[in-house]
């Protein structure tokens, strides 16, 4: 599809072409399938007496030297053969599951990467191919991280997940972004979210303290499964569908971007994988965003764009076994319109990859906590915040 000089496409056709209807259709169907599958899944129960998968792995006692050896081997050659650490630590059931997960992940990448390579990143196929690659990589990353986590004995020190969702949460923080091309560095960040039954309503406001910039977002979500206010879940797993609208005002830099997005987000508590993985989780998000950018002082309709959303992460719960303290997660995020955006690497492969980050939150009491985020991509981002919540604990 191409426009030629002299064409004046309608805004709708503009957006449709930008969005690339075949890829969009595939993505939409994919999201709907995921939502339907999640909705039809067996509802979480609160019974804690259910037998954990790979329970026999929990009966093995591993000596400290063997644990050290297993942890080292989980790094290498475990990087290539996920589950190596658990094999060495005589936990074959979990090892097999991790290896299978790696196979699934590599399978996704084996479809996605050649599709991109041999089609010259054909725009009809790029979206699904990137999702397959990203999802596959996420599974491999989670399996690799889980292998190290499990055999290192980290589960002995891990906290417990939040089994009740808070009724409301707020956040107040300061964010520093370093990018030589930006005309601001410091922002005040404010977040608020209310959870009523399955519904989530959220708002966010970031305002620059040293430049002309503000960013705000309104969101609404539905929790298909997982912890709810007043209803305990079996573990920390959840599936959410979220829709949001945002505006990013970079008036000092000459433009304003308005976006709408929809995404599905899921977390799998890895205790469902095996007992050695208690306290760990893997997370994945996918969706699509549409935006229109207008330029200060320029009288045109604005530029419409679509963007694939995708995020994968591996993390662990923090705190004590008798209550949830918080969590920390390492993640990769594919989105390119936020401060961190896409990573810049020496060499030739730039523009394709998103950014990585670490986020952590820890509640020092039932209501008050601290949060921190570090991200690196096109910019370096650091955020420190105070967290407040009501509910979310027995």
């Amino acid at each position: 599809m191409a426009f030629f000089v002299g064409d004046v496409p309608s805004p709708l056709r503009d957006i449709a072409t930008q969005v690339n209807r075949p890829s969009c259709s595939i993505l939409t169907v994919g999201v709907l399938v995921l939502v339907a599958s999640a909705a039809q899944a067996t509802p979480a129960t609160t019974s804690v007496s259910d037998e954990l998968p790979c329970a026999t792995d929990d009966e093995v006692t591993v000596t400290a030297p063997r644990r050290v050896l297993a942890t080292g081997l989980a790094v290498f050659p475990g990087f290539f053969v996920n589950g190596t650490g658990h094999w060495v630590a005589s936990r074959p059931c979990t090892a097999r599951r991790l290896l299978l997960a790696e196979g699934v992940g590599l399978g996704g990448m084996a479809v996605g990467i050649p599709t991109l390579a041999f089609t010259g990143a054909a725009h009809y196929l790029a979206g699904p191919a990137v999702l397959l690659t990203l999802g596959g990589f996420g599974v491999v990353l989670a399996a690799f991280g889980a292998d190290i986590y499990g055999v290192s004995g980290a589960s002995r020190y891990a906290g417990t997940p939040l089994l009740h969702r808070p009724s409301w949460e707020t956040e107040l923080g300061v964010l520093h972004v370093y990018n030589p091309n930006f005309d601001f560095n410091w922002l005040l960040t404010q977040r608020a979210a209310a959870n009523v039954g399955h519904l989530n309503l959220s708002m966010a406001l970031d305002t620059a303290l040293d430049g002309a910039h503000a960013r705000y977002r309104l969101g609404a979500g539905y929790r298909i499964r997982g912890p709810l206010p007043g209803t305990a879940s079996r573990d920390g797993s959840f599936v959410d569908v979220d829709a949001g609208m945002s505006e990013q005002r970079f008036t000092g830099m000459g433009f304003v971007t308005d976006s709408a997005e929809v995404q599905i987000k899921g977390r799998l508590d890895l205790s469902q994988f095996g007992p050695t993985l208690r306290g760990a989780f893997a997370e994945g998000t996918t969706g699509i965003a549409y935006s229109r950018t207008t330029y200060v002082g320029i009288s045109t309709d604005g530029d419409d764009e679509a963007m694939l959303l995708g995020r994968i992460g591996f993390g662990a719960y923090l705190g004590r076994k008798d209550r949830s303290g918080g969590e920390a997660m390492f993640y990769y995020d594919h989105r390119r319109d936020d401060y961190a955006a896409g990573v810049k690497l020496p060499g030739y492969g730039n523009g394709i990859v998103g950014h990585v980050g670490i986020h952590g939150r820890y509640f020092v009491s039932k209501q008050v906590g601290i949060g921190a985020v570090l991200e690196t991509g096109s910019s370096h981002v650091a955020n420190l915040s105070l967290l407040f919540r009501s509910g979310g604990h027995p």
Binding site: A2, F3, F4, V5, D7, Q18, V19, N20, I113, P114, L116, A117, F118, T119, G120, A121, A122, H123, Y124, L125, A126, G127, V130, N179, P180, N181, F250, M253, G254, F255, T257, T293, Y295, I298, T300, D303, A306, M307, Y332, H334, R336, D337, D338, A341, G342, V343, K344, L345, G347, Y348, G349, N350, G351, I352, V353, H355, V356, G377, S378, S379
Partner: protein, 363 residues
């Protein structure tokens, strides 16, 4: 685009930095300057690469249709100036240390884009100026756009001959990805192919020129990655976006060029599209914030046309009302299912603005 190799970039993410293009841009400042064994050559704005120089001879590769340069040495008789990649019929003028005009004789013209001149030089300094024919003449002219040749360099002959057969074409504009790996051998091989082109080839670099090094041989052979010139009333700005971003220094230079040429027809050329029209693919800048910031500046600077490569297809669209063209049709692994094959563009322009853009399919 060659996405799979880029995906490997996820692995060394710990080494990510925001200044990946900084060193390369700083190297730009050394292009066009030579100071060895008593001979000093300085090309203004680095618009030509000094390929070799000694007390008797200098060889220059032009990155632009016109440039000025100073050669310092000990001149007692004649000094030979060999210029490659010039607009056919270009003249060389020379002045001495007292601003006296020096006699310049055309020795020979091995090809339409190569001329050897003899300058009757005396003293310790010669000022040179390359002047293309019709340089001061207004009115429309045409240039071709050809990028992303890469592995198809062995088959580029057909495109170059087709361009050479165009009745009116003054030069070829390229936004890079001339070769697959950007090595010196590959670039020299590509340069050898340019001998069948009857007009000069002005280019910035693409991401493939960085495959093995962030100090690419490109700058030693073809010139600066960021440069700017005027030709028949039209401004041309070439900018290095091979790392999916602009370095702060390149950004600063571009702002100066935009400010200086607000009232002039202005063509902007860079390898990476600021924004991929098919956003889900994400084949543009690493940061959409940086991309939109740059688009805002181009619009404010009243750029008349923008040319991009990187995506091996053709797409005409607009950003902030600026007519924009992605043309990566030089033969590198093509985008499938888009109905576009190997191609180049013919652009007609004058000092009143963009007149016409035609896509010429080659196969």
């Amino acid at each position: 685009m060659n996405a799979p190799w880029g995906a490997l970039g996820v692995v060394p993410l710990v080494f990510a930095c925001t200044g990946v293009a900084d060193d390369r841009t700083e190297r730009d400042e050394s292009v066009g300057h030579y100071d060895v064994a008593g001979v000093k050559v300085d090309v203004d704005e680095g618009l030509a690469v000094v390929r070799e120089a000694n007390g008797e001879h200098v060889m220059l590769w032009s990155s632009a249709p016109l440039w000025t340069a100073t050669v310092q040495g000990n001149f007692t008789d004649t000094y030979e100036v060999e210029v490659h990649n010039l607009v056919p019929g270009s003249a060389l003028t020379a002045t001495g240390p007292n601003d006296e005009a020096l006699a310049v004789t055309l020795i020979d013209e091995p090809r339409s884009t190569v001329r050897r001149f003899s300058v009757a030089a005396r003293g310790d300094r010669v000022e040179l100026a390359l002047v293309p024919p019709q340089s001061s003449k207004s009115g429309s002219f045409q240039f071709a756009v050809l990028s992303d040749i890469q592995s198809a360099v062995t088959e580029v002959r057909k495109i170059l001959l087709r361009i050479s057969d165009e009745p009116e074409v003054d030069f070829v504009l390229s936004v890079g990805d001339l070769t697959d790996l950007g090595t010196k051998d590959q670039l020299e091989f590509f340069e050898s192919k340019l001998r069948m082109l009857k007009v000069p080839f002005y280019t910035t670099l693409g991401n493939h020129e960085l495959f093995f090094s962030d100090k690419p041989p490109f700058q030693d052979l073809f010139g600066r990655a960021n440069f700017h010139f005027h030709y028949r009333g039209v401004a041309f700005s070439f900018v290095d976006s091979a790392s999916a971003t602009l370095s702060p220094l390149a950004h600063h230079w571009l702002m100066e060029w935009l400010e200086h040429d607000r009232s002039r027809t202005h063509v902007f050329a860079t390898h990476m599209p600021l924004v991929d029209p098919f956003g889900v693919r994400g084949g543009g800048f690493a940061s959409r914030i940086e991309a939109h910031q740059l688009v805002a500046k181009l619009a404010e600077g009243r750029v008349d046309a923008a040319f991009y490569g990187h995506i091996h297809s053709f797409c005409a669209f607009s950003t902030a009302g600026i007519p924009s063209y992605i043309s990566g049709g030089g033969g590198g692994r093509p985008e499938l299912l888009d109905g576009v094959g190997r191609h180049y563009l013919m652009v007609k322009i004058d000092d009143n603005g963009l007149k016409d853009v035609r896509k010429i399919e080659v196969d």
